[in-house]
Amino acid sequence: MSGEGLALALGLASAVARPDDAAQAREAERDLVGACQRGEREAFDRLVERYQREIYRLCYRYVNNHEDANDLAQDAFLKAWRAIGRFRGDSSFSTWLYRIAVNACLNHRALKRPLLQELPEVLPDPAPRADADVLSADESRRVRQAVGQLPERQRATLILKVYHELTHEEVAQILGSTVGTVKSNLFHALGNLRRLLAGGEEKRP
């Protein structure tokens, strides 16, 4: 990668306020990816720096603990480095990276499946509740645990859509499904999450 390209990548990595900036940032990212494909480690470090937080958070929401999230996020970047020579730019780099991370999480979960209790696709509807207060750390943990109990496709859809603010099309690309399926999974994920949270509250003293 040229010095100018790297400088662009460094300077505009987070500059997405205006369409021109977003286009330049995408161009800079393409330069970084090209440099990685030529074997330049420094360029890959920049991509890790740019996406490490998002990938770590994605993994954390799957496994609900720091140690596993750290391992899974590192695994995802390692797999990306191994495969970057085959990245053709059909999707954005971030979409490609998310897909690798989601697959790493799904494989991890498959290995631990006997230890986890996953819900059936649909739960019975509880009585409605209306409060939406700011969540404490304890409540946040409860929501994360409830998310962790959702069926795989619903959980993956909800995490990508709600916490990473991806479009339906991007989520469909990552999960290899259609926009209609993504919408359906998101709808059922929210419904099941609501029932799970209500059920948990009914059990609390």
Partner: protein, 184 residues
């Protein structure tokens, strides 16, 4: 719209992507409005559930960890697309060099065959003999006069014409007029 909204339409209302008819129905139908409110409440609660943020130093350690694991890896497979035109060119050169020269396409032009018929190469800028109106005139003149040697000796038309008698000049002029009229 009288029927209740479908799941997808409810989601569209929740995400402010619904068509006008869907929005109007959701605002007027208590059942659909309640379902949308339930989805919105859950979505808001889910969004507020934060992931614990590691310390700032963690991210440096994370990158070092990734770097260490990559250092133990072989280099990534590089795309070989740039090799394709190079190999194609090399193959073409090899074929051209290894190919024996064809008899019908000599590398060096051969001398013209020793025949009395004129051979016009395919690349000549001159028109073909059968389309050249001036050739019959000259041929008739030269053959009729029996003086082809004058051309072969390089004296040309001017020198040849200067040696003609009055009668011969008249005969040449008549011949040219006739030939011109025939060509036209």
């Amino acid at each position: 719209m009288t029927r209740h909204l479908t799941d997808e339409q409810l989601l569209d209302v929740l995400e402010d992507e619904a068509a006008i008819a869907g929005r109007e129905h959701a605002s007027g139908c208590a059942a659909c409005a309640m379902r949308v409110a339930g989805l919105r409440d859950t979505l808001q609660r889910a969004r507020r559930a934060e992931v614990p943020e590691p310390s700032p130093l963690y991210w440096q350690a994370f990158r070092r960890g990734v770097g260490r694991r990559i250092a133990d890896e072989p280099r990534p497979v590089r795309p070989l697309g740039w090799l394709v035109p190079l190999l194609a060119t090399a193959a073409l050169v090899a074929v051209v060099v290894a190919r024996p020269p064809r008899a019908s396409v000599p590398l060096r032009p051969e001398p013209p065959p020793a025949t009395s018929e004129a051979v016009v190469p395919a690349w000549s800028a001159l028109p073909p003999a059968e389309q050249d109106g001036s050739l019959p005139v000259l041929e008739a003149f030269v053959v009729a006069d029996g003086e082809a040697a004058a051309w072969e000796e390089g004296r040309g038309l001017g020198a040849f014409e200067a040696g003609l008698s009055d009668e011969e000049s008249q005969a040449l002029a008549d011949g040219l007029r006739q030939s011109k009229g025939g060509a036209l």
